[in-house]
């Protein structure tokens, strides 16, 4: 169904629209999947939010739409919603059995483009494609308002404005440019082909440098744009990017503090060339935001947020905690007119927290070291860049700009500016190892539910931690969830069982509180374990199963798929093949 549908879908949107469905309840998931198939969409399912995020990060262009349940043990649906919206900018539809208006409201305020109630009806699903079209259309319009440039066919070039992931648009471009253009024309004759801005590491660094230079409070899109001096970038692009950046910082600032403190230390330890770096001159002038050196230097004033933000992202580890706490902190002041106030050092959240500029110089050394030996052109795990893209999801790990192609706006990807992804990887690995060891000493909060990617990274310590920019590796493989089955429509108890321990483990690392889910997680853990289940099963049904099993068996077995042996009555319910459960449970 997959491949054919994709090909077929070229001219038949919404047929073949690619949907990612997330729901921890396998019954509902299965039904949803089937309904979506009926609508002729292409469906991918997973019962874990984390897995869903991985999938999405793995390839921005793989999906057009996400449908997610609200109550999930490993991550709050609303959180997933936010992350997806920020990072990938995909339309997300919420699904829930809660009809309470306040949930619906929450969905809307978190950015859901729709909220469906269970049981889902196929009629409702038949229309969800409108959200995809609408969101693309809006993006089109947005990017074209400010700058009617001729962005024809520039997938490769920085385009658009708000869309880090440019998932929808890009995908369409990829497999059907004509259709896309046509639709644009139909939708809005005045808007040209909308070139999408891809906020690559390089670009983001420039952006950050510009913001730094201007001062957070003073940073205005127009000025930033000027400073960045990047061709084909519009004020609107910058504006929306800035907005996202602000949001991002606001989010992570709300995160843990304890970890941050620890991670800062480690981070400090990690960076070697600190001293050396301090000596590098910061280009005061505005003109020097091109090229690696300038960019790197430009990063200097903005270190903590950059690197730390990135490194610490998932749970606001390190760094940006205070972003939200101190209104004057960070670059994202709503009030840009605060001229004199902004001072790099003091306003940076990290500084706030640490009471000093401890971290200020930190990222720099790291950057420069990386600069030295970069071979990895395509993926630029620039520190600050990293921070930024990962921001939308505090679970960072993969930057929204996951494209390997570094898109430069006519600026040579000078070696200095190219970061050695490899290097960074190593450093970060060390760092994350270090952090994880430190964080593991933190008292596990009661029943954490949200799994941050960071947690995942900690688990792995090394290999799975991939720099956001290295889009070749999706960072987040949760240590526990190595089971590919978990991703696909999981009807397996096993896969759940695999996941659960991981979930619990993550929880302990995660500082976030979501008491509601904790117990559930635990419960699921225990209930998912096959043995637990069987035992429970027998307890409840010992009387039930006995008498009738024999007679029904004969009838049923002859016609039903059998996954379990006949004698395996006690385990009947565990079999997912057709009727085995019914058969044995009667």
């Amino acid at each position: 169904m997959t491949v054919e549908q994709d090909c077929v879908a070229l001219d038949q949107f919404p047929v073949g629209m690619r949907v990612l469905a997330v729901d921890d309840d396998q019954t509902c998931l299965r039904i949803l999947e089937s309904l979506l198939h009926r609508c002729q969409y292409h469906v991918t399912t997973t019962n874990q939010a984390q897995k869903a995020l991985e999938l999405l990060r793995e390839n921005k262009n793989k999906f057009d739409l996400v449908i997610s349940d609200v109550d999930m043990p490993d991550m709050d649906g609303f959180k997933l919603l936010e992350l997806v919206g920020l990072e990938m900018d995909l339309p997300v539809i919420m699904l829930s059995a809660h009809s309470d208006p306040k949930y619906v409201m929450k969905g809307v305020t978190h950015g859901a483009c729709d909220y469906l109630l269970k049981p889902v009806r196929i009629e409702e699903l038949k229309n969800i494609w409108q959200h995809v079209v609408r969101s693309r259309f809006d993006k089109n319009r947005g990017s074209n308002n400010g700058d009617k440039k001729d962005g024809s066919g520039n997938e490769g070039v920085a385009n658009s404005d708000q869309n880090n992931g440019r998932a929808n648009r890009k995908r369409k471009d990829q497999y059907n440019e004509d259709e896309d253009e046509e639709r644009d024309d139909n939708d809005d004759p005045s808007s040209q082909k909308k070139p999408r801005v891809v906020w690559t590491v390089e670009l983001h660094k420039k952006f950050v440098a510009a913001v730094n230079q201007l001062g957070f409070e003073k940073a205005m899109p127009k000025k930033i744009l000027d400073l960045m001096n990047v061709e084909k970038l519009t004020r609107e692009n910058v504006a929306s990017h800035l907005q996202k950046f602000r949001l991002y910082l606001k989010r992570i600032s709300g995160n843990q503090q304890a970890i941050m403190a620890n991670s800062d230390l480690h981070f400090l330890q990690m960076s070697n060339g600190l001293d050396g770096f301090h000596h590098r001159p910061i280009p005061a002038g505005s003109g020097q935001f091109h090229g690696g050196a300038a960019a790197a230097a430009g990063m200097r004033p903005f270190p903590p947020n950059g690197i730390l933000g990135r490194l610490n992202t998932p749970s606001g580890i390190g760094g940006v905690r205070s972003l939200s706490s101190s209104p004057s902190s960070g670059m994202f002041l709503q009030n840009p007119t605060d001229l004199g106030k902004f001072h790099h050092v003091s306003s940076l959240p990290l500084n706030h927290i640490d009471g000093g500029n401890i971290l200020q110089g930190l990222p720099m050394p790291l950057e420069f070291d990386q600069l030295q030996t970069n071979n990895n052109k395509s993926i630029i795990p620039g520190n600050s860049m990293a921070a930024f893209p990962s921001f939308p999801s505090t679970q960072q790990s993969s930057l929204p700009n996951n494209n390997s192609h570094l898109v430069l706006q006519g600026h040579p990807q000078a070696s200095p500016s190219a970061f050695p992804g490899h290097q960074i990887n190593k450093r970060l690995e060390h760092w994350s190892n270090a952090v994880s060891s430190s964080s593991s000493t933190l008292p596990p909060p009661p029943a954490q539910n949200s799994n941050s990617i960071m947690s995942h990274q900690f688990d792995d310590g090394s290999s799975s931690y991939s720099i956001p920019f290295c889009d070749s590796t999706i960072p987040l493989a949760p240590a526990m969830d190595t089971n590919p089955r978990a991703f696909y429509r999981t009807t397996d108890l096993d896969s759940n069982a695999n996941v659960q321990p991981g979930g619990v483990y993550y929880d302990s690392l995660q500082m976030r509180q979501s008491g509601n889910y904790g117990p559930t997680t635990d419960a699921l853990l225990s209930s998912n374990a096959k043995e637990g289940f069987i035992v429970g099963q027998q307890k409840l049904q010992s009387g039930f199963m006995g008498a009738e099993a024999g007679s029904l068996d004969d009838i049923v077995n002859s016609t039903m798929k059998q996954e379990q042996s006949q004698g395996d009555l006690s385990e009947g319910d565990l079999g997912y093949g057709g009727f085995s459960s019914l058969r044995t449970c009667l």
Partner: protein, 150 residues
């Protein structure tokens, strides 16, 4: 033979009518490509049911230490899946169950739990019979009647 089939078919229809509308929707999703769709889904549902019931019963076990949040979350999930599958009675019990949970009424919760357990087992039996009927109809050479429940 025809009478047998007709009889079976009538029985089938009666059975189906007694089930929830949603269930027939579910049946509509089944087609040649996915002949066991309904069977699979209801199996999943029953599995979920038992798991959730187990969990909730464990939570409700000790009077001094009831985790109502967990029970609530279990009820919620049960409600969602039962409504998706078309298990109306189960879903209805879930509604009262949730109310008991909200006021932290352990006794009430236990009662509801029992009821949920009962209902889902009943449903299981019923569906089993339904499927059996289907098979018999098919084997007798007849066609499965499509029933529209308004």
């Amino acid at each position: 033979m025809n009478t047998v089939v007709a009889q079976l078919q009538r029985q089938f229809q009666d059975y189906l009518v007694s089930l929830y509308q949603q269930f027939t929707e579910l049946r509509k999703l089944q087609d040649e490509g996915t002949p066991d769709f309904v069977a699979e889904v209801v199996s999943l549902f029953f599995d979920d049911c038992s798991k959730l019931i187990n969990t909730m019963s464990r939570s409700l076990e000790r009077p001094e230490n009831v985790d109502f949040k967990q029970v609530d979350s279990g009820v919620h999930q049960l409600k969602g899946s039962s409504s998706s599958v078309g298990a109306r009675r189960v879903k209805n019990v879930c509604i009262s169950f949730k109310e008991c949970c909200d006021v932290q009424n352990r006794e009430g919760c236990l009662r509801c739990l029992q009821q949920v357990d009962y209902e889902y087992k009943m449903l299981k039996t019923k569906l089993q019979d339904l499927f059996n009927l289907e098979q018999r109809i098919l084997q007798a050479g007849g066609m499965i009647p499509q029933v529209n429940i308004s």
